[in-house]
Amino acid sequence: MTGHRVTRSDRQSTFGLAVSAVLLVVLVLLPWWDGDGSLRVPLVPILYYLALAQMWNLLAGFAGLVSIGQQMFVGIGVYTLLSFAEDFGVDPYLSVLLAGVVAAVLSLPVAALAFRLRGGYFAIGTWVIAEVFRLIALESGFLGGANVRTLTRESLGGYSVDTRNTVTYLMALGLAAGATAILVFVLRSRLGLALRSIRDNQEGARGLGVSVTRAKLVVWVISASWTGMTGAVILLHNPSTRAESAFSVLRWTALVVFIAIIGGVGSTTGPIIGVAIYWGVREFLEDADEWRFIILGLIAAAMAITAPRGVYGLLQKRWAVQFFPVRRRLVGPGIGGPAPGGQSQPAPDAGSTAR
């Protein structure tokens, strides 16, 4: 007779991993048969939005840190790349990594201030700090003030257009896939367990010796760093910027939040679904920026009330799908897989449970 063991995967999630792996290989190989870049270039925004959405999801969906200040890390990434590549002549692709480092370092004092606030006030607090960064960028003569700044050909280091397109595409792909992988790894790690216990009961988690602040801080720095690198890649894709667009709350937080919410916050698959939906809406409303925000905003607000786990949550409710193996389950003789429809375990013994 075999004993019980804890498992995270089942046939479904193994299938999910296989599909993701095939998709990833196809996307990695894309530049070799997409000769003119007609597929690569338009895919880049989809990929960097996925990276941003996953990082916001990591904060809001798993660590209870609902940030409305993600634009600060995008902006930091943009201006770090500009400074290093344009002003100091550092290789632009190396500068992408440096953007991650700078964002991670700057995220520490931000956390020291913002972590003093909770819930909705944390959200506005991060927004205020993002504004401070935007205003500093506007004021700073070194960063270019209110002027448009462009990544020039010299600083791109003589790479050909085709190479640049390919590298930018692969970097965006790496950030998107990497962000998803980070989520999967974090959730499978001890940190993931700590976050889950914090989400369920902050006081209880503290009592069990989980350092709530440290767990949140680790996640915060990871998210800031990855978002910063994504910001740098956004600049590689679209080499002209100014403070207003680099630190835009609408582009780098509102849209990202909407994507995550509509797809499903608190799951690894949700933002992927969300970004696909966003792509559809974007194609449909190509030249109507305002309508795009109105429609996505209305859908997101309505979903936050009626379906807080997003489209993925609705799918899960219906078919009990799990794409990435992140949930721990006990399997063994006499214990079935997850009940269809997410049914809960039988009611505990009436006499043994405290009221």
Binding site: Q345, P346, A347, P348, D349, A350, G351, T353, A354, R355
Partner: protein
């Protein structure tokens, strides 16, 4: 005359069912004590009557009308007031405000700030204090007074004695007859059997969410009560989920 008639009542929280097919009658003017061990479902029963916990099955008839669907904030208007477990005074209100907020415009009657203060004179010097500085006994007096302010037909008292010194409990229990004289029927929940039997005209004992005994204190043998309270060894633990 029956004031309250409960039939086949099931209730619980989430996956946990706390009450199974409860049948209880409360006659007008009586003082009914509900006793039982910790977790027997007494508090849940009172919270169901006050509308804080929904019923899953069964009926609650109050003054001849089915009130199962009446929402919590409307129950006080029909004459049911709960003195909740742990007193639950409003900490940012003064004692006077805590009492006044208990009054209901649709229910004038004998009880007012003055008459409540007559029953609980110890509150009078505390009226302007914030309620969170009061002692446990003082808080309990205010909580009972707050419920009286709505001139309830049925007053539900949850664990009046919990955490209080015996001398304080004694003085609170001495005030209970005044509640009945004021026209309220009293349903009190108590873990302290002796205290409950001293004031009750009738006793209902709950065991693991079911009525295990019912009767007048004088008619019940001590051993029966003990058995109903703790459960017979043969039946204990056999009440698992079906």
């Amino acid at each position: 005359m029956t004031l309250l008639e409960v039939r086949g009542l099931d209730a619980g929280y989430g996956d946990f069912q706390a009450l199974f097919g409860i049948d209880v009658d409360v006659a007008e003017g009586e003082t009914l004590a509900m006793i039982g061990a910790n977790g027997a479902g007494k508090t849940t029963f009172l919270r169901v009557l006050a509308g804080q916990v929904p019923t899953r099955a069964g009926s609650i008839t109050f003054e001849g009308a089915d009130i199962g669907a009446v929402r919590a904030h409307r129950r006080v208007g029909i004459g049911i007031a709960l003195v909740p477990e742990g007193r639950k005074l409003f900490g940012s209100l003064t004692v006077r405000e805590n009492l006044i907020i208990g009054a209901h415009p649709g229910r004038p009657g004998r009880w007012s700030l003055d008459t409540v203060l007559e029953v609980f004179p110890l509150i009078r010097p505390l009226l302007e204090r914030p309620s969170h500085v009061l002692s446990g006994g003082e808080q309990q007096a205010v909580a009972i007074g707050r419920a009286l302010m709505s001139n309830p037909r049925l007053i539900l008292l949850d664990e009046v004695s919990l955490g209080l010194a015996p001398v304080v409990v004694k003085s609170l229990y001495e005030a209970l007859p005044a509640l009945s004289e004021g026209g309220a029927t009293v349903l009190l929940v108590e873990q302290d059997i002796g205290q409950a039997l001293s004031v009750a005209s009738r006793v209902v004992c709950l065991l693991e969410g079911r009525v295990s005994l019912e009767g007048r204190p004088a008619d019940l043998a001590r051993s029966d009560i003990t058995a109903a309270y703790f459960g017979m060894p043969a039946t204990a633990g056999s009440e698992g989920p079906s």
